[in-house]
């Protein structure tokens, strides 16, 4: 029989702890496939962050360092600056980690043009701690800490990280993609590949923001969750390339 699909060598055999309907599994696979296809699994060090993806070091088959909450870009900086030049370093961070407690680290890593790749998973909520409001939560979104819906007068507005970082000269490649259907997952993989190639070509800071789901804390089933991304997140977080100074390489 013809083999039409095989699990990438970039993922371990360990069963993940992610909830049904969560797209972390898809995003892990995309990152792992890209690293395998570029033949850089053995040259890559990943930095796991704090949040639902804290255990990504158990699933992604490369050397991994686990960072304190929000500090992954600083840890990645330390790694990248001392490792041999052919080594690739990436962070895998959620929106609470990157856009709230770790905002300082991500902005300055981008501003320095730190030659790392950031995989930024935005599902507009804190997952692991039980569904609290994130800096990326939408206006009106009900969470454990915004039970009446996020009120702009009280909790401010969602932060658009890709747009913000794109203003920095050090950022070489920034794209926002989504994981809510197959066509977008395919585009997401292309963006991740482009980001790692940007790093491999030593062109500077690269980040892919991936709109993602949290069925458990949104209180929706997996299919409804994908629909929620499309209907509610896409208008606030438009997809597209926000920065590309790589010269089309």
């Amino acid at each position: 029989m013809e083999l039409v699909f095989a699990k990438t060598k970039g993922l371990s055999d360990k069963a993940s702890h992610y909830c049904p309907g969560c797209t972390h599994g898809i995003i892990h696979r995309l990152v792992a496939e890209v690293l395998e296809e570029m033949d850089v699994l053995e040259d890559t060090v990943g930095v796991a962050s704090v949040g639902c993806s804290v255990l990504s070091y158990e699933y992604i088959n490369c050397d991994m360092t686990q960072a304190a909450h929000g500090r992954a870009p600083a840890v990645a900086t330390g790694l990248k600056r001392v490792l041999p030049e052919n080594r690739l370093v990436f962070t895998y961070q959620g929106d609470g980690d990157l856009a709230s407690i770790g905002m300082g680290e991500i902005v300055h890593a981008a501003a320095r043009g730190e030659n790392i790749t950031v995989i930024f998973v935005n599902n507009a909520i804190y997952g692991m701690t039980g569904g609290q409001m994130a800096p990326t939560s939408l206006i009106g979104q009900k969470t454990a800490t915004s039970p009446f819906g996020r009120d702009q007068q009280i909790q401010g507005s969602p932060i658009r990280v890709s747009e913000m970082l794109a203003t920095l000269d050090g950022a070489a490649y920034i794209e926002r993609v989504s994981t809510h259907d197959v066509a977008n997952v395919t585009k997401a993989k292309r963006a991740i590949r482009k980001a790692f190639e940007t790093q491999k070509n030593r062109q500077g800071f690269s980040m892919v923001e991936l709109l993602s789901t949290c069925s458990t804390n949104w209180g929706l089933d997996p299919v409804e969750s994908l629909g929620w991304v499309k209907e509610n997140m896409l208008p606030v977080y438009p997809l597209g390339v926000y920065k590309d100074s790589t010269g089309g390489k």
């Binding site: 804290v54 050397d63 330390g78 001392v82 080594r87 300055h108």
Partner: protein, 353 residues
């Protein structure tokens, strides 16, 4: 090598370079600023890098990243900055990553002052961040001693896979003294097979991590750390004894304060008071032996610190109630004078005022 006249902060920097450290991640803060300025010029000469971090928090986490890649790495700061690094230091401990952390102490609490102080003794010797841990703490008293201790600090960090403190104060950082660097020795690097450098050519993926969700796992890890600490307490204690053999009174002081105390002891001796000194060089592990060896012979101990009384607690534990332990301290950047220390000796000895 010939002696050179240098400033304390620059000596710390050059001593680290001599110890094979090529990477410094720091944030500017007085009174350690000369250290980062020196390294910004010096490290490129040895193929290394100084990177000015956006915050103390980022600096210690850059250290965490570099240490996880297996290189010798340092960060430097002063008291308020060291407070900000505590989270990262706890993670270094949990992940068993070697690094050297320099604290050129200033007055506190809060923004405090930029004058010398020893108010961070508790923070350095009793953990400092969250969780159960200790960190080896070296407290040099002279610029030459910085040179002599720095290589050892890096070696201990590597051997025990732990962060290590160099604890000085603003006086030590700002003073100038002649120092002699030994010929640069190619240090024998401790193998770091645990480092995350990419798996090419070295087998299965490695993980640097401090998360252990299973309580039994975490307790086992903590027991492992404690066993390591017992080894450090067994092997790495350092102290100096000065005129303790016949001493009836012993001053206990560390760092620059010990130098002032020495002058007070000279005055006391010339006036007939038998006074000596125990100077802990490692503050953790704290030296017990010189206290058990002297506590039957002496009438009292006097701890002198630039704090409201921190090391004095460890002295009391070591003396264990056998003899009185007196205390004299100044805080906020005020430095104890030798006259004041002498006066305190006379007072304790019940002599003429």
């Amino acid at each position: 090598m010939a002696k050179v006249l240098m400033k304390g902060n620059e000596v710390i920097a050059e001593a680290a370079v001599h110890a094979g450290c090529k990477y410094l991640f720091s944030y500017p803060i007085t009174p350690q600023s000369e250290l980062v300025a020196y390294m910004a010029k010096r490290l490129p000469e040895v193929g290394g890098l100084f990177l000015q971090a956006e915050s103390e928090v980022a600096a210690i986490n850059m250290v965490y990243g570099a240490a996880s890649a297996g290189v010798r790495v340092m960060t430097s700061s002063s008291s308020p900055g060291i407070s900000l690094k505590q989270e990262g230091i706890s993670y270094l401990v949990g992940s068993e990553l070697p690094a050297v952390i320099v604290n050129v102490m200033r007055g506190g609490p809060g923004l405090g002052s930029i004058q010398p102080a020893q108010g961070d003794y508790f923070q350095a010797t009793k953990g400092g961040g969250h969780g159960d841990y200790n960190i080896p703490v070296y407290a040099p008293a002279t610029l030459q001693e910085i040179v002599d201790l720095m290589a050892e600090a890096f070696d201990v960090a590597d051997r025990y896979r732990t962060p290590v403190y160099i604890l000085g104060d603003g006086m030590l950082g700002q003073m100038m003294e002649p120092v002699e660097f030994k010929e640069a020795v190619d240090y024998e690097p401790t193998p770091k097979e645990w480092a995350t450098t990419g798996t090419r050519g070295d087998g299965a993926p490695k993980v640097v991590n401090s998360l252990r969700l299973d309580p039994a796992d975490l307790e086992e890890h903590n027991n492992h750390l404690q066993a390591k600490y017992r080894q450090i307490m067994e092997n790495e204690v350092k102290y100096e004894e000065y005129l303790t053999e016949d001493a009836e009174y012993i001053i206990v002081a560390y760092g620059t304060v010990a130098r002032i105390a020495k002058n007070a002891i000279k005055t006391a001796r010339s006036n007939g008071y038998k006074v000596g000194m125990i100077r802990p060089i490692t503050l953790w592990p704290f030296p017990q032996k010189p206290f058990t060896a002297t506590r039957d012979q002496v009438k009292a101990y006097l701890t002198v610190e630039m704090s409201a009384g921190q090391m004095v607690e460890d002295v009391r534990l070591a003396v264990n109630g056998r003899k009185p332990v007196e205390f004299y301290g100044r805080t906020g950047g005020m430095v104890p004078t030798q006259e004041a220390i002498y006066k305190k000796i006379v007072e304790i000895a019940g002599g003429d005022q």
